[in-house]
Amino acid sequence: MSVFITSSGHFLPGPPISNDQMEPLLGLVHGKPSRLKRRILQSNGIKTRHYAMDANHHTTISNAGMAAKAAEHCLSSSFLGKRQIKMLSAATSQGDVVLPGFGSMLQAELGLSDIELHSSHGICSSSMMALKAAYTNLLAGEQTNALVVASELTSRLFKASRYEAAGSELDFNAEFLRWMLSDGAGAVLLETQARGRCFRVDWIRSFSHADAYPVCMSVGYRGDSSEQRSWQDYPTYAEAEAAGALLIRQDVRLLENIVKLGVDGYLRLISEGRVQPDKVDHVLCHYSSHYFRGKIFDMMQRAGVGIADHKWYSNLYDRGNTGCASIFIMLDEFRRTRQYKTGDTILCMVPESGRFNNAYMQLTVVEA
């Protein structure tokens, strides 16, 4: 049995926001312009992104709403109607509500009936985990199709008022992601039958290293040596926010590990015979920043398993880093706009810095 990606879709809220428009929209923290913004933007290379929030900090569309739009976009170019969908597998780092699961909220938003449901929770790699859950479900013969949707609405965390509520000065780790992440959703449709020109999923694999590395990206605790309490351990949520326990943080010092671990997984897959570097025709790698693209590329090159520059595709620079949605938004744009031919091999990589989970997938272009 094989599983195929027979359709894809995406949704990006509002107009593209340029680098200069970011701070007026997100707001000045304590009325002062950021001193780090320019450096971080220069390093990540992102030129435009989208926010599901206006300059008054009103949310323009919910996370589940964006996910539903991406799913509908995906279905609109598929052979299936909503009534025929058998499974929904959804991913996000933070739903609109803490409970119930994001998948339930999305199912209701989409109006899908009697489906099998899966919600995957994590950061960038959670979409790949959602995809793998659906993929194995189909391979096991449980269902004949699955809609997989990943969506992020992180801009809610970047409003100036969030930082102001957490007190005085912003540290680098708490501000870093403000200039990295943005909103959007992506979707793919998996089926056990090929339709027209589509992508066969050859395999999906991930390697997680949370036991060997500290937390690198977090929301929910301050995570420094003096304060390890969860936001839920404070007497009130207001106190948790005031203590900075609800800020989204990246431990920038640990971030470099993502390059090594990304290459490590790639080398493992080569030694297992799953990846043959010279047979890869397209690389879709979710790197969070242009800076890391160079590092990953160089290290692969140094190991003698590099993949030529022109085979790499990313829309990070125009669509922004949308966390777990990125890889689907990238795959969708690749599918719609790029040149590829039957037999081509596509390697997708999602190295996640949360606590270092690296996911990989290989697709082959087939013609039904």
């Binding site: 290293h209 036991d211 060997a212 590395y213 500290p214 420094d224 040596s225 590990n257 090594k260 671990l261 290459v263 490590d264 080398l267 493992r268 080569i270 030694s271 160089d298 140094r302 190991a303 003698g304 398993v305």
Partner: protein
């Protein structure tokens, strides 16, 4: 780094060694002492204890490298030259380490008279044993781990130690210097890989020795916390 290992066999060996290195870094990430360093809960006393233990391996380090050089026969005289050069450059490194120990508040006599910890015994024993074999090409795997560690110390640990102990880099000179120097050593290592890894059997031997060295190095660092 732009240099490449050219032969297909050398290339494969490099890939395998990179994986051994990544695995080693994960092993290091599980060592309690280094986890404390990561969290910033690392005192000057911890640092002194680390140096005290480390010095015993560093001072022996030049011995196995020298012996390794002398174990290469006439067919490998070029390799011997490279390794002799390497041994000469590093054989007094321990003195800088001792100075750091004193600068951090330790007593010279303490570090000079401390015994090898259990991990150091095992690591030193293993390396001397391998170095005594004829044409010990597999030791390039040990060099890979030890040179890599030098870079990690300089790029990572030295700054973290200064940060969590309130230092001004005056007592992390060994770590910083060692890393700066190792960049050049790594280039030589690539050339050695190309020269010494010419068959699957040699590849397997190099990778195995790298793995044993990595494991024993971790043991040595785990043992820093043990006092008897």
């Amino acid at each position: 780094m732009t240099e490449q290992v050219l032969s297909p066999q050398g290339q494969q060996c490099l890939q395998a060694l990179m994986r051994v290195w990544f695995e080693f870094e994960r092993q290091l990430g599980r060592v309690p002492l280094l986890q404390r360093l990561d969290r910033g809960q690392f005192s000057k006393a911890d640092y002194c204890q680390l140096l005290l233990n480390w010095r015993q391996q560093v001072i022996e380090g030049s011995r196995w490298i020298s012996r390794c050089a002398s174990s290469f026969d006439r067919d490998y005289s070029d390799v011997r030259s490279v390794i002799i050069g390497h041994a000469r450059e590093e054989h007094r490194d321990y003195e800088m380490l001792e100075q750091d120990y004193v600068a951090a508040g330790g007593k010279l006599a303490d570090i000079q008279h401390a015994a090898r910890n259990i991990g150091t015994e095992a690591l030193h024993g293993f390396l001397m044993y391998r170095a005594s074999q004829s044409n010990p090409i597999d030791l390039v795997g040990a060099m890979w781990i030890i040179e890599g560690l030098g870079q990690k110390m300089a790029s990572d640990w030295a700054a973290q130690i200064d940060k969590s102990t309130g230092g001004d880099s005056s007592y992390t000179r060994f770590m910083r210097y060692h890393g700066a120097n190792d960049d050049d050593h790594l280039q030589k290592l690539y050339q050695l890989l190309d020269r010494l890894c010419q068959s699957p059997a040699q590849l397997a031997a190099i990778v195995r020795t790298a793995r044993v060295t990595a494991r024993l190095y971790c043991l040595q660092l785990e043992e820093v916390d043990h006092e008897y």
